[in-house]
Amino acid sequence: MSRPLHIFGGRVVDPSQGLDGPAAVLVIDGRIEAVGPGVEAPDGSESIDATGLTVSPGLIDVHVHLREPGGEHKETIATGSRAAVAGGFTTIWAMPNTDPPIDDPAAVGYVRAAGRAVRASRVMPIGAASIGQKGQKMTEIGELVAAGAVAVSDDGHPVHDSGLMRRLLEYSQTFDIPVLQHAEDPGLTPGGVMNEGAVATALGLRGIPNAAEAGMVARDVLLSELTGGHLHVCHVSARQSVDQLLWAKERGIHVTAEVTPHHLLLTEELVRGYNTQAKVNPPLRVVEDVDAVRQALIEGVIDIIATDHAPHHYDEKEREFDDAPFGINGLETAFALCMKALVEPGHMTLSGLIDRMSCSPARIMGLDTGTLRPGAPADIVLYAPDESWTVDPARFYSRSRNTPLAGWVLPGRIRRTIVSGETRFEAEGDA
């Protein structure tokens, strides 16, 4: 039994219970014991002075690529989960597109055990939806769930075959897990490396049209309606996809969706000069799309923010644009980029942002975290929302440095990340 932990002097923002004001948080045995303005420290408590800081439920990211096994030169479960806590995330879901893919119970168990051993963020494995992520034969989803998988996905690739997608949305219901879909119609994206449009045309790069995403979303919400399965649409980037999601939600279809921090602010203009750091799939789009996905997030048509953290070795990005891999390293910039995209301009309150990065991910995925309610696991983040910092990829905890944000000054600094009452990250030299 560890000593009780008393976090005092801070502003507590917990939209799961409508809290936004000065309060203390008491943690006993790794769980929230009490939260409120008058909560006192019992004798023998460890104290954390949160004066000047904001205290919220730890952030939850349901879309992270940890690259292990097979891509350890880009990231490992250890480096990725340390990057997570440095970014304020207490739970991350690991995508299965590793080499080999996480398509059997042993592999799921490996990711789960390796994640626990690091003692950074919680690491929850996502199982492959199809064997080898080949889009042909369904994995043994029951076995994967028994080993600890929290969802299935072929992310990195879409589930292209409509029949397989239907079966996945049916069969997954036995285990009460969502099917996470990378929505892309591959027939519309051969050789595509950036958003289709005027910039791609001027640069002579092959485009990825909005319709490639929105068409797949349209099909999938119909399959969700047909089957009743929980469809979760990954990284929505196109305004037409938002229209499909709105239509589906109005009909009561069981669909949820995420948007990445980069799609909430950045546009295809960043690709000019053949900037491979801005090469990502789905691609950075145009300002009309950014406005649409942001508005959808505000209105709840898109439920949550997820990073699609996609680390790549610097050699791999130092290539011809066509040959460089897709992906942006996101865990350690996500919160600050969202502060810049949403809170600083006044599109969303801080409480709203915490909801989209913590409470709502927990709610839609059925997790017991994402709240500071008494009894919940004590996953907590302490941060300075107004403190600016300069993005320096050389200081990332991630093994990779691939970000288009190097040198950007962003608001919102993570100071301490607590998982199960244990401090797993503390910013150097302060608070």
Binding site: G197, L203, G204, L205, D315, R319, E320, D322
Partner: protein, 324 residues
């Protein structure tokens, strides 16, 4: 020589026409004029680039462009080395960044690069101090082809401003098209493209060009047509159903040209597919300037090499006499 910024307004490199000003493009064309004459001499050589080393780095097969550059370099007295992708370290898996570093280590003065990926020339230029000339990168730009097309059009009409030029054919895969669009617009021409929508890139109207889907309409509109090569691979990839149908719908034939209000000038960047995008009677007919394009190609490339090496446009006349 690398830190000299010649008066032409050209920077260290020639990557594309999109980033050049109209004045710079005009300066290159004006510089090419005196160099035309060198190729007509019995002894086709001046010592303008004597002692300079140039690598022609061709990651894609090319006959015409490579030979044209090589003649331009040799007629200016440079020492040249040709590197073709087959048989080079590229085949052995060397990355472009390593190729760049090795070139830098060998202290070469200029690199002429042809590469299958858009942006490859810029990638190289950003990483080495040598002058880099783009000889075609993916579907991006082929600036010296654009310049030679401009020079040929100017020779034909005595001007470029106010002309209507239509690029016909496989625009989506064409670096020639992009260099033509940017270059012609900067010199005051109106530009259109013509082809089936499957071969026209998205949002090209945003570049300020008009789109024709009927070649007859393009011919009615244009003063000059730049007819692009239609590669067999496009049929296999499903962009068009067949070359035969392409010729029937889009082929530039004398019968179609005869209905034009003016004697349309015909350009083609080569190599031609006779009977596909262009009929032989047009290619070999009086309206064709296809062979003058090739002649101008050497002069334009000499001008670019001369200017990037630090030569001043107004001294090109002396340079060609061997005095500068």
């Amino acid at each position: 020589m690398n830190d000299r910024r010649p008066d032409s307004g050209l920077g260290k490199d020639l990557i594309g026409l999109e980033t050049l000003s109209g004045d710079t493009i005009r300066a290159i064309l004006d510089t090419a004029e005196p160099f035309k004459e060198i190729s007509e001499r019995a002894i086709k050589k001046v010592p303008v680039l004597r002692g300079k080393t140039i690598v022609n780095l061709f990651f894609e097969p090319s006959t015409r462009t490579r030979i044209s550059f090589e003649f331009a370099e040799k007629r200016l007295g440079a020492d040249t080395v040709n590197v073709a992708a087959s048989g080079s370290s590229v085949v052995k898996g060397e990355t472009l960044v390593d190729t760049a570093r090795n070139l830098e280590a060998m202290r070469i003065d200029m690199v002429v690069i042809r590469h299958g990926s858009s942006g490859a020339a810029q990638f190289l230029a950003d990483r080495i101090p040598s002058n880099v000339i783009n000889a075609g990168d993916g579907q991006h730009e082929h600036p010296t082809q654009g310049l030679l097309d401009l020079l040929t059009i100017r020779d034909s009409f005595g001007r470029i401003e106010g002309l209507k030029v239509c690029i016909v054919g496989d625009v989506v895969h064409s670096r020639v098209a992009r260099s033509n669009i940017f270059g012609l617009q900067k010199l005051g021409a109106e530009v259109a493209v013509c082809g089936p929508k499957s071969l026209i890139p998205a949002a090209i109207e945003d570049l300020g060009v008009q789109v024709f889907t009927h070649v007859e309409d393009a011919i009615q509109w244009a003063d000059a047509l730049n007819v692009l090569r239609l590669q067999l691979e496009r049929m296999n990839a499903g962009f068009i159903p067949s070359l035969r149908e392409y010729n029937r719908v889009y082929g530039v034939s004398q019968a179609r040209l005869d209905r034009a209000p003016v004697d349309t000038v015909i350009l083609h960047p080569g190599p031609m597919n006779r009977g596909v995008e262009i009929d032989s009677d047009v290619a070999d007919g009086p309206q064709s300037v296809i062979l003058p394009q090739v002649t101008n190609g050497v002069a334009v490339r000499m001008a670019v090499l001369y200017l990037l090496a630090g030569g001043a446009p107004e001294r090109a006349e002396e340079a060609k006499k061997g005095e500068a």
